[in-house]
Amino acid sequence: MAEPRRVLVLVKYVPDAAGERSFADADSTTVRTTEGLLSELDEYAVEEALSLAESGGWEVTVATMGPEQAGAAIRKALQMGADAGIHISDEALHGTDALGTSAVLAAAVRKFSDEGGCDLLLCGMASTDAGMSVIPAMLAERLGLPQVSFASQLSVEGDTVRIRRDSETATETIESRLPAVVSVTDQINEPRYPSFKGIMAAKKKPVTTWSLADLGIEPAEVGLAASWSPVTEVSKRPPRGQGTIITDDGEGGVALAEFLAAEKFI
């Protein structure tokens, strides 16, 4: 039997939107939380990779870049059924912007590829915290690979990946040769819940940790200091004020219209 082909899913550990949140630094939009999780939008990419694996002949590896807690994102993907994990973790990475992140991920993909080949890179359509949607494109550019984004359907035949992309005006079918970077939308599938068997099996699956040194990246190239677009100020949105109560004494409609006009709603 032929060697399985390798798909690498790039995932992000994000703050749990339902949990307590605060900013990690005065000059960064990095959010600190008590609890984080595998970005929901990345679950679709993991699921798509698992479906490929179930169709036969694919091995699924999941990689994330982030602090120690980010291991939870890998663990979740392994519990869902991924075969192995790569955790890129380094003190110097704190505060790295998208450009820096794409440089680190590109180095990780090269290392992954050197060690056993890489036939497909899958990403979610955006992270649920920063929501920039730029990593797949940056990564493809750095790696010199074709990029097909926002896939709502995906199939692989031989060395070709075919995706469907739905826009407001048209539905496009796009083909690319492999390897390629593909980002998937939340329409592509329904991510599975990990089963108890999957949770128990995940304990025994390999997770490799790579530092910046492992990837040949100088600490000065990444982190807050190397960011292209420093944040000058971060402030919490002020708490919502009391509403305005208009008592209808016959002129309520007028008062309401005036209020809405003053707030530029009408």
């Binding site: 663990r75 519990q79 599975r192 819940y193 990990p194 108890f196 068997k197 949770i199 128990m200 304990k203």
Partner: protein, 388 residues
Amino acid sequence: MSFALSEEHEAFRAVVREFAEAEIAPHAARWDREHHFPVEVVARMGELGLFGLTAPERFGGSGGDLASLCVAIEEIGRVDQSMGITLEAAVGLGINPILRFGTEAQQQRWLPDLVAGRALAGFGLTEPEAGSDAGATRTRAVLEADEWVIDGAKQFITNSGSAITSCVTITARTGELPDASPEISAIIVPSGTPGFTVEPAYDKLGWHASDTHPLTFAGARVPVGNLLGERGKGFSQFLATLDDGRIAIAALAVGAIAACLEMSVRYAGERVAFGVPIGTKQGVAFQVADLHVMLESSRLLTYRAAWLRDSGRPRAEVKQAAAVAKLHATTCAVSATRVATQVFGGYGFIEDYPVARFYRDAKILEIGEGTSEVQRVLIARGLGLPVE
């Protein structure tokens, strides 16, 4: 000494909770109101592996422990007791007897679908005039050539009449012993067997979304090979599966108590009376504190019993712990739903909040799979008392 579930059990709890809150909680009130049994959700629970938690991998199960099943039942029961009992009965009464006593052929035929949640099985023990009293069993199975011919009736049989019920295992008199007491055997009756009628569902106080029916048998014929386990051992086999069932019912009760505590803490912090949240008042706060004690004590007893079972402790020790857990947790569940209803005041008496549904659902916990009185008998006997 450790009182904690493993990291994997807790990870599994988080998954089942996420599933329950997304797939069950939003619909539970409607299913209850419409007495609707959601077959499609059984299938989703099957995909999650809930029915196969304790089944071996060769039948599609996880080969997990009773504690993992308790976690699942507690978390499903925390949002909907009906689906909680559906899971509990499907495993404890549907799968387990076939798993423990079935022949290879019987297991191959029935287990894969049951484990996957594609099918459900019921267990018919209770009769209009016989429950824990096996000697009073009226249902009769007579061997004619190579078939059992079954006549009789069964009462309160969970998961027995759903669209995906594949079979019901029943107990029946298959003869008489030398001392004139009946010989009781267990027989698997496939759904759709001519002469086997699933009567209309009961109008119950609670568990409205759970599938419960009376069953009648009038000359129903099944192959002789459908005998489950040993002839004449039908009742003792059933008793052997009951300990696990008691622990699982205790887990279902824990789910109800947890729901009551969470709802009451939230409500007592939000609802304002006399210008302050009602949780400011000791009369309310103390009742909520009691709910927490009920939850902690019930949960400890339940998971300790499961742990004793999973660590292979002697049967007598497991049996005693199971009876203690079932008695305590179900008594607490009935109290907890009453307290939560009181905390909610008038809003606890209307169906706009889930509290009323939990109040109606809780009572059966003190009755099903061995009443509180039966548990006390077992506990007293375990202490060596010559109780009747």
